[in-house]
Amino acid sequence: MIRVENLHKSFGGQPVLRGVNLAIATGEIMVIIGRSGGGKSVLLKHLLRLLRPDSGRVAVDGVDITRLRGAELDRIRSRYGVVFQGGALFDSMTVFDNVAFPLREKSRYSDQEIRQRVEEKLQQVGLSRMGDKNPAEISGGMRKRVAIARALVTEPEIVFFDEPTTGLDPILVNTIHHLITELHRTFRFTAVMVSHEIPEIFQIGHRVAMLHNGVIVETGPPEAVQSSSNPVVQQFIRGEVESTAVPQDRGVTVGGRA
């Protein structure tokens, strides 16, 4: 269980999170939606403890990670797998080495076992013949799939997806969503996904939370969010242009620079 309580964060006096409250149950797929610049990535970085809040807490199974440091924080992070927006693959390594990297560094498996696990993961994401390629030699969709394989190779309990389908064509978007659903069915991890892909994410998310102007304005099962009477939610889902709903903090990024 991940519990976010009254989370506040500002950059250079500009508030980005203004009291976020969110509970993510073990084993569920929670999708966080919201407009660009609305604070979704900032919220995700707090869940990963890459950022510290100005106030509020993020508890993972009851442990407040905002106060953790060193080995205690590493223990929590060892339970994480993360798929970054751009993949964040290491340029200097091949696809195989990228996926093998967390195992080589954090596990006691033999080389043979690591090879077996990496090949298995690459096969699950449909890239079994791509191990020798460098990240620069493969397409954007393949890079996302390698990132998913790397995030899952340690069999984490909690997997974070930061816009895993941004910039991909509709077929690839569905392929990645299908892959995530299949992998979740197999490994039963808790998934936290930040995404813009409307309406596709309503099919894979168990629950959906909408972040707007630094607060969660709607949470619930996909059907409930889709039928929400909240005009901000409806405007976002329909993609309507309406000046009154433009977030005040649009354009603010981590570090406080627009």
Binding site: K45, L48, L50, R77, F84, Q85, A88, L89, P102, K106
Partner: protein, 268 residues
Amino acid sequence: MNESAAGRPLPAPLRPIERLGGLSIDVVQSLGRFGRFLFQAVVLAFVPPFKFGRLIDRMHFIGFRSLIIVILTGGFTGMVLGLQIFLTLSRFGSEAFLGPAVALSLIRELGPVLCAVFVTGLAGSALTAEIGIMKITEQIDALTVMALSPMRYLVVPAIVAGLITFPLLTAIFDVVGIFGGYLVGVELLGLSPGTYFGEMQNFVDWGDIMTGFWKSLSFGIIVPWVCTYKGFYCGHGAEGVARATTQAVVLSSIVILVWDYFLGSVLP
């Protein structure tokens, strides 16, 4: 911006003082962060697990890749020194002292300083750019959330590699430079080889060599420290990486010259 702590704008005459205060706080914060960065790296250098593979890679990155430029610049620096010093000494009929003059200039001053500046331009800038790109593409965040220390992977091996490779590169620079001076002084201008090397042996002692060694060793820490720090704290996007790379080269070069003067005045 121009507001007091209570939120009211300050009177116009006080605003420059406020700006100066803000700038001073920024400078002190940056210096503190800069110092803490090195302290963390030094502590991690003595705490296992040690990343020997990364160390070898960084030694190749800083040392081996800089070899050609060090040999080239060392050779021509020695040749220029040989020519200019020979012409100056010949006015006093003291050409015999060409060997020690070239050797002392290179071993005590020019070898460590020029070598460090050239390696900064070649490997130091690449180090900043590499780490800067890793930062903006979230590769450093990826290491962090894997519960792996980016400092241990990216900074410690670079500083240890600098400590090992800078004295070696400086030694190569010195030796090639001395032979560059020999080429001009002996082969082109007709000085006797025995005089060139004989006088060098008479005048150059271990103290001179150790002065050059301590300088190169300290530059081996300074350059990777500055360059990795700038990469770690670079701004956003390609522009941020470009600015960080420029700053790394400029700051490293300045610190090298300032530190060289300081060491030159305290070492024998």
